[in-house]
Amino acid sequence: MLTNIGYGALIITFLVSIYGIIAAVYGVRKNSPSWVESARNAMLLTFPLITITALSIIFLLVTDHYEVQYVSSVTSRSMPMYLKITALWGGQAGSLIFWSWLMSAFASAVTLRNWSRDKEFLPWVIVVSLVTLAFFLGLSIFFENPFVRFWQTPTGQIITRMIPPAGAVPFVPPDGQGLNPLLRHPGMIIHPPMLYLGFVSFVIPYAFAIAALVTGRTDDRWIRVTRRWTLVAWLFLSLGLVLGGRWAYDVLGWGGYWGWDPVEIAAFMPWLTGTAFLHSVMIQEKRGMLKHWNMVLIILTYDLVIFGTFLTRSGVLSSVHAFAQSAIGPAFFAFIGITFITSLALVLNRWNDLKAETHMTSVFSREALFLLNNLLFMGILVVCFWGVIFPLISELFTGQKVTVGPVFYERATGPLFAGLLFLMGIAPLAAWRHSTAKTLGRAMLRPFFASLVIVAAVIISGIRNPAAILGFWLSAFVASVTLYEFWRGVLVRHRNKGESFPAALWRLAGRNRRRYGGYIIHLGVVLMAIGIIGLELFQTETQGTIPQGGQMTLGDYVITFDSLSNFDTPDGRNVARAVVSVYKDGDLVGDLYPRRDFYYESQQPMTIPGVRSTMEDDFYVLLVDWQPISTAGATFKIYHNPLVNWLWLGGFIFTLGTLVAAWPDHERKTAQVRREKSAYATAKTG
């Protein structure tokens, strides 16, 4: 019954989306506001409809309806309620519905805004949103239906169908297979929604970009309207990535946070183009340049979002055969191809309208440095994209599968990331339009000397690794520049207006939150860089088997193996839990409980580390193996991860900065400065 309601609502949502697309296009052609209004209502209607579908699935999940194939594949009776709810995004069919649900919510929210100044965009924003939505709904209906049920045919065969063949009776398995143990973690409750929110909200700026191209209103209005959407999308995507890293660190048991796995890279790629876009739109806003490039960036971001959604869940990267066999593979491939080519064709069609209003005047100007930043981001993108698809290409041509592992990505992107950090240091000091090497050099002087102090401290502390010294210097340099920028602004206000320092800081940031929010983000990135340098360059590890009461040493740390217990839990796990005492420089600093959970349902082992975490370092103990009968000996793997907590702290500051930059405020008249100028230019040339 409920499956039929959910499926019915899904089909109606799909039909309403198709209607909305047709109504919007027809409304534009006939110049009929009532048809456009009807399309807008269709857009708004998709949200309650798809909500019915999503809630039906959630209800089926929490009420143990194992006759539904999806429910049976991601839940089991022993799972707690919150995991049953989050199982909505625990498998592919549910994830796609979840995607559509969020997409519909965001697109509906956009259609509710005040359109009085942007009426011509509205129908096209609706068309783009609804085409995207209809594509995902279509996937759910035709390929990945979450409502398919088990049936037993008269011959005793168990089949899965939405509509049963004659004579078949429902088949209800006594229990489900349960959620993949890797996904049973608090990080998994919040990480996928964040990522998906980031993904779907990037559709909005893309929709406006396409609307601008179609209508020919190619000034920077579309960028101004979507500025906040882009920041929000970027915030969610960034949060999704950081939380994913945290989850990997806590759950995957390899002492790291990022393994350059294709699935991780799939989420990282739209972030790269999105970040490049955030920077380069500023050039368009301030200088009226790079209009083509910004279009290309947002189109790339959109298609990488679709590509990312596809990679994350489909598992096609395991082999070209998996791709050919999966029904949704070709569908995704076709959709990405069609949207990409159509969008680029629109850009070409408007090529002359998108000509720059001004020229680059100096290679040291901020816009020039932003262009370099874009080049580096694109370089990282190429490395990532190529690394992800190369195994497929290799398999296609040679039949031989290859692995493109972290070594490849680290070597290829390391220098590019270093270059980005350096630019992050100098770009805020460069003026728009015009800077010379001399003025820029003079501005850099003080922060540069401040950063040298840090480098000296690093060298005195005994660090000799050149990569680490360079990395710490870059971090110190960016931090000095950024703090110096705050300091100069505050000092000016303090002197000129007599404000106290805290008030001056508050008002300064309030004057241009995007600028100062951006600087806070830069500080967050610096902290993250410190954590990454610490872990990547100074991580040490050891592994060994010790008897109960035995000791293992790693650097300044010693652990003793105190005891081990082995027991079954009510939720279907066998847990082996060791107690180890940790000593640092001879002093007891605490006990850790590394464990190994074995899930009977899925026959899958999970290694949960015991971690002692400080700002200085993480001491990370894994229980690799143990003697089941005597519990006499156990194998431990220990990682020493210096500075890794700076990564998480950086993530927090980063989020804070994005919130500062994205917080809503009323649009001020002064924002129009460049627009008037461009109008003037158009009047003059036209």
Binding site: P262, G387, I393, T403, V492, K677
Partner: protein
């Protein structure tokens, strides 16, 4: 590798998953290579059946057996290179962390630098063309100050200007 070999390998892998629970931590005689020596090599190899999991951290029993194999080979006096070659012969190039640089695999190393250099070249050319057309200032703004007149200590006015423009 032949299809049947693969099949056996995969079946063995899943069987070993089922048997993964009762692990057997062993203590080795002092002359056997220790875990760190084994991991140093396992780290450079990838699990032949799981996707993108380095052999040193793969939690499955199959991988534990492969690690024991490394230990055995080490104790027989095999070098790191010999062991890696052995794994490649047995399970194909995919056990290596990066594609071996030969044949089509060169592309994986060549394309990214070529693309980045091409991008840099395009950017360089663009800068050059912009520089040539620099005198074209007629349509430049009514708002921005003429850049050449910028005094060295114009920070306040510049900041004000930038804050105003948002």
């Amino acid at each position: 590798m032949k299809r049947t070999t693969w099949l056996t390998l995969i079946i063995a892998f899943f069987l070993s998953l089922a048997a993964a629970n009762p692990g057997a931590a062993q203590e080795y005689p002092p002359d056997m290579p220790n875990d760190n020596a084994v991991n140093a090599i396992a780290k450079q190899l990838y699990c032949p059946v799981c996707e993108n999991v380095p052999l040193d951290v793969c939690p499955t029993q199959a991988c534990a057996q492969w690690r024991e194999l490394i230990r055995e080979k080490l104790s027989q006096g095999w070098s790191e290179e010999q062991i890696k070659t052995y794994f490649v012969e047995q399970y194909g190039d995919r056990v290596l962390a990066t594609p071996p640089p030969r044949g089509i695999n060169w592309l994986v190393y060549i394309i990214p630098p070529v693309a980045i250099l091409a991008g840099a070249f395009i950017l360089f050319k663009a800068f050059q063309s912009w520089k040539q057309s620099e005198p074209d200032r007629t349509i430049q703004g009514t708002t921005a100050e003429p850049p050449t007149d910028e005094p060295p200590d114009d920070y306040i006015s510049r900041l004000e200007e930038e804050l105003r423009q948002r």
